[in-house]
Amino acid sequence: MSLKHPIGIDLEDLARQDALTRRAKSALSYFVLGLFVLISVGPILYVISPAFRESKSLFSYPPQWLPNSFYLGNFKFLLTETNYIRWGINTLIFATSVTLISLVIDTLAGYAFARMNFPGKKLLFGCILATLMVPIAALLAPTYLLVRNLDRWTFGLIGLDTFGGLIIPMTVSPLGVFMMRQFIETLPKGLYEAARIDGASEWRIFTKIVLPLMKPAVVVLGIFVFMQQWANFLWPLVITTKDETRVLTVGIATLQGQFVTNWGVIAAATLMTIAPIIMVFLFFQRWFVQASVAGALKQ
C-alpha cells in the first residue's frame, strides 16, 4: 500500500529517492577521502620498493612496482659502509636531550607565569610572546657566531661540533612556556590556594599538586618538541661538520650528494629512518594527533 499525498506525491518514493541521494553523496565523500589517503600514504609505501631492489634495476623498463627478489644489499651497505648507526644514535641523543631539557625549563617557567606574582611580569611575558615563533633560520648568523665564541667560555661544552652546541640553543622554546602556562591556568585554583594556606612552599605545591596534574600537557609538549627536533635539519647542518655529532637528516642529505647513482641506498636510509617513528606513532596516535594541533591551537 503506498501513501498518497493529497496533491499526489508519492511520499514513499520521495523517501527512497532521498535515501538514495544521501547514500550516493556519502559514497562520493568516501571515494574522495580514500583518494587523499592514497595520496598521503602511497609515496611512503612506494619507497619500500626501491629500498629492496638493486640500484641498477631502478631504470628497468617497464617500471617495476614490486621487488622481484628480497635484496638486502642496500641495508647492508648502509650499516657497514656508512655511519648510519652513529647518526641514528646522535639523532636520539639530540632529540631526547632537547625534549627533556625544554620540558623541565618550560614547565617551571610556565608555572611562574601562571601562578606567581612578580614586578614586570606582564612586560616580560609580552617580550617572550613576541619571540614565540622566531625561527632559527632568522638567527642563523648570530647564533652560529655565539656558539663558536661560547666554546672558549664554556670549556668546550657548547661549541661547534659539540653536542652542547647542537642541543642547548634548540631548548629555548617560548611556545612551550606559553603552552604550559595556558595549561596550568586551566587547573582549579582552589587546590593551589588550599595548599598555600596550609603553608606549603611554591616548590612543594609545584611538585606535589601541579606536576601530577600536568601529565597530559607534558606528554603532548614532549611529542611536539621531539618530532620537531627529529626533523630538524638547518641547525644541525650548520653546527656539525663531523660524523661524531652529525644527525640522520644531515647524514642522509650528505649520502644523497655522495651516492647520486646509488638510489637503493638512499631509499633504504629513508625507509629505515621513518619506520621507527611510524611504529611509535601507531602506538600513541591519539597523543600525536593532540600534540600537532595543540602546537598551534592551545590558546
Binding site: 622566531v134 633560520a137 642563523l140 626533523a231
Partner: protein, 317 residues
C-alpha cells in the same frame, strides 16, 4: 564585650605600628624575598632565552650594519647592506619565489584541508582511520620527504615518469624546468602539511554548536550552503589565525629546496632562507645575509604579534 575592652588595654597600637619609612623597607624586603622562588622557577628559561634568543636578536640588528665576521673581523659599513638589498637580483628573485610558493601552498592546502575536514565532519564513520592515515606524511621529516619526492619526480628514474613512459605519454620535467620545480616543491609542502591542517580545521568544525547546523538543516539549507553560511563565518577568526601561522612556517622554506633543487634551475627555486644560508656559508657577501635575516625577523615578529593580538581580542569577546 569585656574581652575586647581588655585587648584595648593590653595592646599599645601606637607602639606597634610602623613608621612610613619602616613600612616601605619591610615591604621591599618582603618583595625581594618573594623574588627568590620566582627566579628559581623562571631562571633557567630566562637565562637560556636571553642568551640564545634575545641577545642573538639584538646582535643580528647590529650585524646588519656590518660585513664579514665569519672568517675575518666584522667591519662596520653603515646602511650599505640595507641599501643594496633591493638591487640584488638573487634576493629579489628569492623573495618572489618565496612569495609565490607561500601563496600557492597556503591556498591549495587550506582549500583541500577545509574540504576534507568538512567531509570528515559529516561522515563520522571511520573518521579516526582517515585522521591517522592523513597524518602519516607529517611523521616524515622534510628532508626524507624530499628524498621520497625525488623517487617520484626524478626525470629518468621517478616512478611518475616511468609510468608516463610505459603508457606512451611524454615525460614531465618536474625538477629541471621552471616553473615546474617550484610547483613540485609546493606540492611536497602541501603533501606534508595537509594532515595537520585537516586536524586543525576539523577541531574547529567540531567546536561549532550542533544546534546551529540543525536549525539550518530544518530550514532546508543544503550542505554546501550550510558550509558557506555557518561553518565558514564561525571559523573565520580561526582561519585568520591559521593563515598567519602558515605564513610564518612557510616563509622559512629551506629543507626541500636543499634536497630537491639546490635553488635551481637558474634561481627558479631560491628561497629567502636558502639565500641567507648560501650567503653565510659560501662566504659571499655576508653583509647581505645579515640584513636579510633582520628583515625575516621583523616579518616573523610582526606576524606573531598580529596573530596573538588578534586571538586575544577574540577570546575577550
Amino acid at each position: 564585650m569585656s574581652q575586647i575592652d581588655q585587648n584595648k588595654v593590653l595592646i599599645d597600637w601606637q607602639e606597634l605600628s610602623l613608621t612610613d619609612e619602616e613600612f616601605r623597607r619591610a615591604r621591599s624586603r618582603y618583595k625581594l624575598r618573594g623574588l627568590i622562588p620566582v627566579m628559581g622557577f623562571l631562571g633557567p628559561f630566562l637565562l637560556l632565552w636571553s642568551v640564545f634568543l634575545a641577545i642573538p636578536m639584538l646582535w643580528s640588528i647590529w650585524l646588519s650594519f656590518n660585513t664579514g665576521g665569519l672568517i675575518d673581523e666584522a667591519k662596520f659599513v653603515g646602511f650599505d647592506n640595507w641599501s643594496r638589498m633591493l638591487s640584488n637580483d638573487e634576493l629579489v628573485r628569492s623573495l618572489k619565489n618565496t612569495a609565490i610558493y607561500v601563496v600557492i601552498a597556503i591556498l591549495t592546502v587550506f582549500s583541500l584541508a577545509l574540504t576534507i575536514a568538512g567531509l570528515l565532519n559529516s561522515n563520522k564513520r571511520g573518521q579516526n582511520f582517515f585522521k591517522v592515515a592523513l597524518y602519516f606524511p607529517l611523521l616524515v621529516p622534510p628532508i626524507m620527504a624530499g628524498m621520497i619526492f625525488f623517487f617520484l619526480t626524478h626525470y629518468d628514474m621517478g616512478i611518475i615518469n616511468l609510468v608516463l613512459q610505459a603508457t606512451n605519454h611524454e615525460k614531465l620535467n618536474f625538477l629541471g624546468d621552471n616553473p615546474n620545480a617550484l610547483l613540485t616543491i609546493v606540492s611536497l609542502e602541501v603533501w606534508r602539511g595537509l594532515g595537520f591542517w585537516v586536524l586543525f580545521f576539523l577541531a574547529g568544525l567540531q567546536s561549532i554548536p550542533s544546534d546551529l547546523i540543525d536549525a539550518a538543516k530544518i530550514d532546508g539549507a543544503g550542505s554546501v550552503r550550510r558550509f558557506r553560511k555557518i561553518s565558514l563565518p564561525t571559523l573565520r577568526p580561526l582561519l585568520l589565525f591559521a593563515v598567519i601561522i602558515a605564513l610564518i612556517f612557510n616563509f622559512q622554506l629551506f629543507d626541500s629546496v636543499q634536497v630537491l633543487t639546490k635553488g635551481g634551475p637558474v634561481l627558479g627555486t631560491t628561497s629567502v632562507v636558502w639565500f641567507i644560508y648560501k650567503r653565510l656559508f659560501a662566504f659571499q657577501d655576508i653583509g647581505l645575509a645579515y640584513a636579510t635575516s633582520v628583515g625575516l625577523l621583523i616579518v616573523v615578529v610582526v606576524l606573531t604579534v598580529a596573530a596573538y593580538g588578534f586571538l586575544g581580542k577574540r577570546s575577550e569577546n
